[in-house]
């Protein structure tokens, strides 16, 4: 049971992933752009953030960079969740501070493992 911030602008994907996360007993917060994601992260302090990259207003890379730059949100693990599946896209995600990466289409069981790993790592840090 974790508090997960899902940042996704595509309504169908957002609903689908949110449904999956809820089915697996997670609390789900939703943001549809990078700017809102930062605001929610600051106020709600989620346990993990699933971040799409192609976002309006503020894209995922910029948002991740700002979240990792701010002291209050730095500790929150970010898992990049994107259809940009090229090797260079993955590298770019890690470069802006993402803790993990999962290409779309999402393999739910693998995503579940990555969320668990991120939570475990975060708990170790605390």
């Amino acid at each position: 049971m974790a508090k997960i911030l899902l940042v996704e602008d595509d309504t169908m994907i957002k609903d689908m992933i949110a449904r999956y996360l809820k089915m697996t007993r997670h609390e789900v917060l939703i943001a549809t752009d990078g700017q809102k994601a930062i605001e929610i992260a600051q106020t709600e302090k989620p346990d993990v953030i699933l971040m799409d990259m192609g976002l309006p207003i503020l894209d995922g890379w910029q948002a991740a960079q700002q979240l990792k730059a701010a002291a209050e949100t730095r500790a929150i693990p970010i898992i990049a969740l994107t259809a940009y599946a090229m090797a260079e896209d993955q590298a770019r995600c890690f470069a802006v501070g993402c803790d993990d990466y999962e290409a779309k289409p999402v393999n739910f069981s693998r995503l579940q493992e990555k969320i668990a790993a991120a939570l475990h790592k975060a708990s170790l840090k605390e």
Binding site: D10, M12, I13, M16, I17, R19, Y20, M23, G54, A83, Y84, A85, M86, A87, E88, D89, Q90, A91, E102, A103, K104, P105, V106, N107, F108
Partner: protein, 787 residues
């Protein structure tokens, strides 16, 4: 002792002889002076003793002085001979040995005279004749006396002949000197003859010492007055005789006094026709010369004579001959034929001019690179070289086998349409023979091709490239008095050789330029094509990347919901829906694999697929793959066996691609095998010093027919079309795998038997080079995306 006038006379003779000896001795450096001094001394000694003899009153004393006279008597002829040899330039004949030989008889004579009482070989009987207060020695002579006398006459005679010959020879030029010499040579003989012939009145006196003394005096006079010993006329004669220059001496009456053999040879007349003749008669063959130099006494200049057709250069010098009063007594004419020298000089000068002209021409031509420009310059320069404005140049047109005129200057400027066949006209003949041809009477020449009656002299010079004639240079003189002589033709030929080089050079350059231009054009086109291809490739890559992204988004939804529905179906007890939902997932995953594979292949084709090398443990890679694939293999009731050696160690390669290759093979094996065995092995081996890792995937599945084998690794083929439908897969996996293997320096191979199974072998070097690796910016689809 008593004194008589005779004693006085003899004493004076002795004193004079002494004076001669002293004067001669003082002038030792002059030729003949030393023997003359000796001669004077001998005569003086003789005369002193003679004076004492004449003054003696007893026979014993007379006898004594007579004996003392003898050294002087015997030395005198020898000294005379020595003087004559010296004076006539023959002193070298007086070697020490010869002097010793000549001295034998005089020495014996003296010794015999002094010991006459013992043998009477000189005087048999001695009587004394008292005359006029004189006691004269009057012997009868013994045999040795005649030997002595003969010897003495021989010596004196030889000397006299030498002197006379010399004097006569120089008679023309040194008349007084010669007279003195003859006088002094003859005098002793006169004295001696008088003595022996008793022709002298008065007492029987020996006049020989007197004669010698007079002779000596004459010579001394010659010293002072005529510088007898300073100039050696005979030696000078010898030089003049042997000179290569012509020498003629003319007196103040313009008569020829002397000339040497060279001068005589030049006149082609015997000397008897020349000597004493008037100079202008003798030199009548050269009237202008006679006129020119008639009154010239001193000059040095070069004269050109035209002797027949032959032009000769003469270096002529005229010097005045003066006597001791500085009056001009004649002229000395000396000349030398310097024609050969002049010709050589002229040849050198001409060659130098030619060289300079050639050099200037080459400098002027060498910088021209445009062939037409070069051709124009060649004609202009060739014309300047021989001084004509009329020239032309034909170039061989190999295609038509004709000479085509390129340039015409002067009168040829209007003949620019000419073409000549081989052998046609002068230029055609030059082309045919490859030899220069000069025709100095073109209009009359039978081979003429054009009716140019104004054309006088024409020369054609071949221009060659190697042995092949590439053109003909022509030059013409229109003036009737000018012709092309062999030297001019030779010069033009040399020029032609050089011009050929320049022309060939210019042609090569032009060809090169053209080739370069073409090459540049091709290069530009290639460059443009490459740019276009690269742009197209970039566009394609961008398109594929975008396509990948855009396809993934709906696939995410399809696959996501099919997963969700499966979960919900399980939870809510709708198990019958699960296979259908799984079909949706499978189709979606197939589509995803297709996207990945197409992207990979497009990169491989574009050469944009990059290797990202890293070092990894081979065993770990195998374990990881085995774990991932095991469920897939076991799903169809297969046994999965994984075997590898413990010593596999690490390898350097692109781990992602190695994983992709092996995953592809293993999933294929899993797909095409049911209730069988899938074996995954790995081994390290060394071959020819290179280390390899050998991966094998062995299955006991359906196998591959040999027919299928041929296009197994080709894109978009699957062993069996039906298999594709049954087993899924894009048909790109093996093609991509093989590309990856080859990129890493390895290969993939297969052995198979239908119905029994297949063995795929991947062979990769343990250390893949960096050749194909590069920047990490290059895109590669993540394998995680493919299932």
């Amino acid at each position: 002792m008593r004194f008589t006038p005779y004693v006085l006379a003899v004493t004076i003779t002795a004193l004079l002889a002494t004076a001669v000896a002293i004067v001669a001795w003082r002038r030792r450096p002059a030729p003949g002076a030393t023997p003359l001094a000796l001669l004077g001394l001998a005569v003086a000694a003789w005369s002193y003793a003679y004076a004492f003899e004449l003054a003696s009153t007893t026979p014993e004393l007379v006898q004594f002085w007579v004996k003392l006279e003898y050294p002087g008597i015997v030395i005198t002829p020898l000294a005379w001979l020595a003087f004559a040899l010296h004076y006539t330039g023959r002193e070298r004949r007086l070697t020490r040995f010869r002097i010793a030989m000549l001295a034998k008889i005089p020495i014996i004579t003296v010794l015999l005279a002094w010991t006459n009482e013992l043998h009477h070989l000189i005087w048999q009987e001695v009587t004394f004749d008292a005359q006029d207060s004189l006691l004269l020695f009057d012997p009868t002579y013994g045999p040795w006396f005649w030997v002595h006398t003969a010897f003495s006459y021989l010596a004196i005679g030889t000397g006299t002949i030498l002197l006379l010959r010399s004097a006569l020879r120089s008679m023309n030029l040194y008349r007084r000197q010669a007279a003195v010499a003859i006088f002094s040579a003859v005098l002793p003989w006169i004295g001696n003859v008088l003595y022996l012939s008793d022709l002298v009145p008065g007492p029987q006196l020996d006049l020989t010492p007197f004669a010698f003394t007079l002779s000596c005096l004459a010579l001394v006079l010659g010293f002072f007055r005529y510088r007898l010993l300073d100039v050696v006329p005979v030696a000078r004669d010898l030089i003049i005789e042997n000179m290569s220059d012509g020498v003629v001496v003319i007196d103040d009456q313009n008569r020829i006094v002397d000339l040497n053999p060279i001068a005589l040879n030049g006149l082609q007349m015997p000397s008897s026709m020349v000597i004493g003749k008037l100079a202008f008669q003798v030199f009548a063959r050269w009237p202008d010369m006679v006129e020119r130099y008639r009154n010239v006494h001193e000059i040095a200049e070069e004269v050109i004579t035209n002797d027949g057709n032959e032009r000769r250069y003469i270096d002529l010098r005229i010097s005045p001959l003066r006597d001791h009063h500085r009056r001009i007594r004649g002229r000395l004419i000396v000349w030398r034929d310097i024609t050969t020298l002049k010709q050589t000089e002229e040849m050198l000068r001409r060659q130098n001019e030619e060289l300079t002209a050639l050099h200037e021409t080459s400098l002027a031509l060498i910088n021209r690179l445009d062939p037409q420009n070069v051709i124009e310059a060649i004609v202009a320069r060739a014309g300047a070289l021989v001084g004509t404005a009329h020239g032309y140049l034909y170039v061989v047109d190999p295609a038509a086998d004709e000479l085509v005129i390129q340039v015409g200057t002067g009168v040829f400027a209007c003949h620019l349409q000419c073409r000549l066949k081989r052998g046609q006209g002068l230029s055609g003949q030059v082309w045919e023979t490859g030899q220069p041809l000069a025709i100095n009477d073109y209009a009359q020449w039978p081979g003429h091709h054009f009716d140019f009656d104004w054309l006088h002299a024409l020369v054609g010079i071949p221009l060659r490239s190697g042995t092949e004639v590439i053109g003909v240079l022509g030059l013409a003189y229109l003036d009737t008095d000018r012709t092309f002589d062999p030297e001019e033709v030779a010069l033009l030929e040399r020029f032609g050789r050089m011009a050929s080089l320049v022309l060939a050079n210019a042609r090569l350059y032009a060809e090169l330029q053209q080739e370069l231009t073409e090459r540049k054009r091709t290069e530009a086109a290639l460059h443009h094509a490459k740019d276009a291809a690269e742009a197209a490739n970039r566009a394609k890559s961008t398109f594929l990347a975008n396509m990948s992204h855009e396809l993934r988004t709906p696939l995410t939804i399809i696959l996501g919901y099919s997963q969700l529905l499966q979960m919900q179906a399980r939870e809510q007890g709708y198990a019958e829906l699960i296979p259908e939902l799984e079909s949706i997932s499978a189709a979606g995953n197939h589509l995803l694999s297709l996207i990945s594979d197409i992207l990979d292949l497009s990169k491989i084709e574009a050469g944009r697929m990059e290797l990202h090398l890293n070092v990894f443990s081979v065993a770990e890679l195998i374990d990881e793959l085995a774990t991932a694939v095991r469920p897939m293999v076991e799903q169809r009731n297969n046994t999965f066996a994984v075997r590898y050696q413990d010593d596999l160690g690490t390898m350097q390669a692109d781990a992602t691609k190695v994983r992709q290759i092996l995953f592809n093979l293993l999933s294929n094996a899993a797909k095409f095998t049911e209730r069988g065995v899938v074996t995954f092995t790995a081994a390290r081996l060394e071959e020819h010093g290179a280390h390899w890792i050998l991966f094998r995937v062995i299955d006991t599945g359906i196998g591959i027919s040999s027919e299928q084998m041929t296009y197994l690794f080709k894109e978009f083929t699957q062993a069996d079309d039906s298999a594709s439908r049954r087993h899924g897969g894009t048909g790109l996996g093996l093609a991509i795998s093989r590309h990856f293997c080859q990129m890493m320096g390895g290969d993939i191979s297969v052995e198979s038997e239908v119905g029994r199974g297949s063995t795929f072998t991947v062979r990769l070097p343990t250390n893949v080079g960096r050749r194909n690796s590069s920047s990490p910016r290059e895109a590669q689809e993540m394998p995680e995306g493919s299932w």
